[in-house]
Subunit: 230 residues, 2 copies
C-alpha cells in the first residue's frame, strides 16, 4: 500500500500494463520512464524487463492487449450488420456506426481503462515512432480491409480513392473527439465537460455528413473527362 495506485493484487504483469497505459497517455512514450511505470505499479524496477523484455516490448503489449479486443468487436459488429442485410450492400451509416461505435463504446468505458487507452490510441496514429506504427498497421490490416470492402460496395459510384480519404478524415475527427475536451478547451477556454454519451450521436452526424458530402468538383471533372475519353 506504499505506492499511490498500487493495487493489492499480486499480478505484477497486469499492474505494469495498467500503470504504463495510464502514464503513456498522460506523458507520451518517451517521457514515461521505466522508473515512473514501476513506481506507479508498485513493483521492482527490473520487473518490466523480466516480464516483457524491454520497454519497446511493453509498449507493444499495451497496444496488443486492447487492439485485439477492439478489432474483434469491430468485426463482430460488421458481421452482425451483414447478417441482417442478407447479402445486400450495407448502408454507409451502418458501416460507419459499426466501426466508430465500437471505438466510442470503448472510449466511454472509464471503468476498465478503455477511455485511457482510446485517448492514447488516437494520438498514436500520428505518432512518429516507427516500430509502433508498423505494429499498428499489422494489427489493423484485416479489419480495415473488411470495412473498406463494405464501403466500396455501399458506395459503388464514389471513387475508391475518395472513400479512402474520407475514411482517413473520419479517423481524424474521431481521434480528436476522443482526445476529448482537453483539445477543445485549447480553443475555447470556457468549455464545459458534459455527458459523454452525447458524443456518439454528435460525432456520427458529423461523420455521415462528411462521408455523404458532394464530391469535390475536381474529382467530378476528372471523372467526366475520363468518361468522355473512354
Amino acid at each position: 500500500m506504499s505506492e499511490a495506485t498500487a493495487k493489492q493484487g499480486p499480478d505484477t504483469r497486469a499492474r505494469i500494463l495498467n500503470a504504463a497505459e495510464l502514464l503513456f497517455m498522460t506523458h507520451g512514450f518517451e517521457a514515461t520512464s521505466m522508473r515512473m511505470i514501476t513506481g506507479q505499479a508498485g513493483v521492482n524496477l527490473a520487473a518490466v524487463n523480466y516480464h516483457f523484455g524491454s520497454k519497446d516490448a511493453l509498449i507493444q503489449e499495451v497496444f496488443r492487449r486492447r487492439l485485439t479486443e477492439l478489432n474483434r468487436d469491430r468485426l463482430i459488429a460488421l458481421e452482425a450488420e451483414e447478417a441482417v442485410a442478407n447479402g445486400a450492400p450495407l448502408k454507409p451509416s451502418k458501416i460507419v456506426a459499426a466501426f466508430f461505435g465500437v471505438s466510442l463504446k470503448m472510449a466511454a468505458d472509464t471503468e476498465h481503462g478503455g477511455a485511457t487507452f482510446m485517448r492514447l490510441l488516437g494520438r498514436t496514429y500520428t505518432e512518429p515512432n516507427e516500430f509502433v506504427r508498423q505494429f499498428l498497421a499489422e494489427e489493423y490490416a484485416e479489419v480495415v480491409q473488411r470495412f473498406m470492402s463494405a464501403l466500396y460496395r455501399a458506395l459503388p459510384d464514389v471513387p475508391r480513392e475518395e472513400i479512402l480519404w474520407r475514411f482517413h478524415f473520419m479517423m481524424g475527427a474521431m481521434s480528436y473527439a476522443i482526445a476529448g475536451t482537453d483539445a477543445l478547451k485549447l480553443f475555447a477556454g470556457d468549455f464545459d465537460d458534459e455527458d459523454p454519451t452525447r458524443l456518439m450521436p454528435r460525432l456520427m452526424s458529423f461523420l455521415l455528413g462528411g462521408l455523404r458530402a458532394p464530391l469535390p468538383e475536381e474529382v467530378i471533372e476528372s471523372r467526366t473527362i475520363r468518361r468522355d475519353a473512354a
Copy 2:
C-alpha cells in the same frame, strides 16, 4: 559543408530553428536531442542554450515563429470575406475556407518548411506536454474567438455548443489530412501519394458536409423540449 543539411548561411538562430522543426516533426520533442539538432544545423552544441536559453524555449520559438504568421493570415482571410459581405453574416463555407484554407496553403508550402511545420502542429494539438499546450492556447485565443463568432452568426439556429464540437471535429480531420498519407498507409498499405493540391477540395467537401449535417436527434429533442417549456 561537413554536416548533412548545414546551409552556408551563418545565421545560427535560423539554422537551429529549421533543423529543430524538421527533427521535432520526424521524431517528436522528447526523442529529439540537442545534439541531433545542433548536428543537423551544423552548429556547436552550446549554441541552442546561448541563443534560446533552453530546449523548452527553443520548442516554444519553433511554434511562435510559424503560428504568428499562420494566425495573422487567417485573420486577414476572414476580414477579406467580411469586407465583401459588407456586414451580412458570412456563409459557413467562406468561414471554413478561410480558416482551413490558410492551413492547407501553409501545408502545401514544401519550399519554406511550412509542410513540415503543419504536420508537427497537427500532432501537437493532442500532445500531452503541458507547457506546449498552454502556449498553443494563448497563441490561438484571438483567432479562435473571431472565427467562432463568425460561425455563430452564420448558423444562428445551431446551438453554439454543437458548432464548437463540429469545429473540433474539423480540426481533427484537418490534422489527419495534413499528417498525410503516412497515417493513411497505416490503413491501406498500397496507397499512392499523389498531387497534394487535390487535398484542399477533398477536405473542404468533407468538412462542409460534416458542418452542415443534420443535428443529432438528441440535440433536436432537447431543444424542442426547451422550447416547449419556454
